[in-house]
């Protein structure tokens, strides 16, 4: 039944968008992490989507193709007293721009909301479909 497929499609979108939100939360939380387990500054993570075909159906859901790390270096900040500071007193910050992350987060949250609405509408239609012929 095709309305059931709408559910499936919307649910793939919800899980992908929540993964994106997770990555963004991690980026924001680590905006000041100058040294990770490998001793290097945190690399922001970006989620890449791709369409996920559903077997035997024309509609496609969405899935996470890759989680890529942003390899650009962040700004250098002068903090001579910092334990990670180099010889000239600079520390390498992670390349996290909080404004950018917030904008991305709003976009992810809007997409999530929209797909919840798709689910809600499909649910209402299916419930009504169950009542067909009862009247």
């Amino acid at each position: 039944m095709s309305l059931m497929r709408s559910f499936q499609v919307a649910s793939t979108a919800l899980s992908s968008q929540s993964l994106r939100m997770n990555a963004l939360a991690s980026n924001l939380a680590n905006a000041e992490s100058v040294s990770g387990p490998d001793g290097k500054p945190y690399r922001p993570k970006h989620v890449v989507f791709r369409p996920a075909p559903i077997l035997g159906e024309v509609a496609a859901g969405v899935e996470v193709a890759a989680v890529k790390e942003d390899m650009r270096d962040g700004p250098k900040v002068y903090k001579p007293g910092h334990p990670s500071a180099d010889a000239s007193g600079y520390i390498q910050m992670p390349n996290v721009n909080p404004v950018e992350v917030m904008v991305d987060m709003v976009s992810a949250s809007r997409s999530y909301q929209m797909n919840v609405e798709v689910m809600n509408t499909s649910k209402q239609l299916m419930l009504k479909m169950l009542d067909l012929g009862r009247g």
Partner: protein, 138 residues
């Protein structure tokens, strides 16, 4: 007014409902892929799709194509396949090649949902009138 409709209303409403569900699925996948790079928004031409559905099944014995070999196409006599999926004309495509426009998709989705309900109401009234004819309002 034509008292005997061209198509059986029960059958017509069912086909309409099926196509509405199909379109709902297409629109849902457009909205799911709103952030997918390179995704192109798709849709069906509803009037054409419904006509194909109704005519394909209603006149399934029209112009049968004889297939004498396994590799011949089989047209007519079988249920029509899925309607052709078209690409939506992009209004403002994104730089990553995505052509899903939120407003367009949402308005089409809402429109489709309302029309699905309308088709269900029609189907309900057809069923109700058949039932009335069967029971004689007993």
């Amino acid at each position: 007014m034509n008292l005997v409709p061209e198509f059986d209303p029960l059958f017509f409403s069912e086909a309409a409902l099926r196509m509405r569900g199909y379109r709902q699925q297409i629109l849902a996948s457009n909205m799911a892929n709103i952030d997918t790079p390179g995704y192109k928004a798709r849709d069906v031409l509803f009037s054409q799709a419904l006509r194909e559905q109704v005519e394909g099944t209603a006149y399934s014995n029209a112009l049968p194509l004889s297939a004498s070999n396994d590799r011949h196409y089989r047209i007519g006599g079988s249920l029509p396949g899925a309607p052709a999926l078209l690409y939506r004309m992009p209004m403002q495509p994104a730089l990553d090649g995505n052509t899903v426009d939120v407003e367009t998709e949402r308005s089409h989705f809402a429109d489709n949902a309302v029309r699905t309900e309308a088709a269900m109401t029609m189907l309900n009234s057809v069923i109700a009138s058949r039932r009335l004819a069967l029971t004689g309002n007993q």
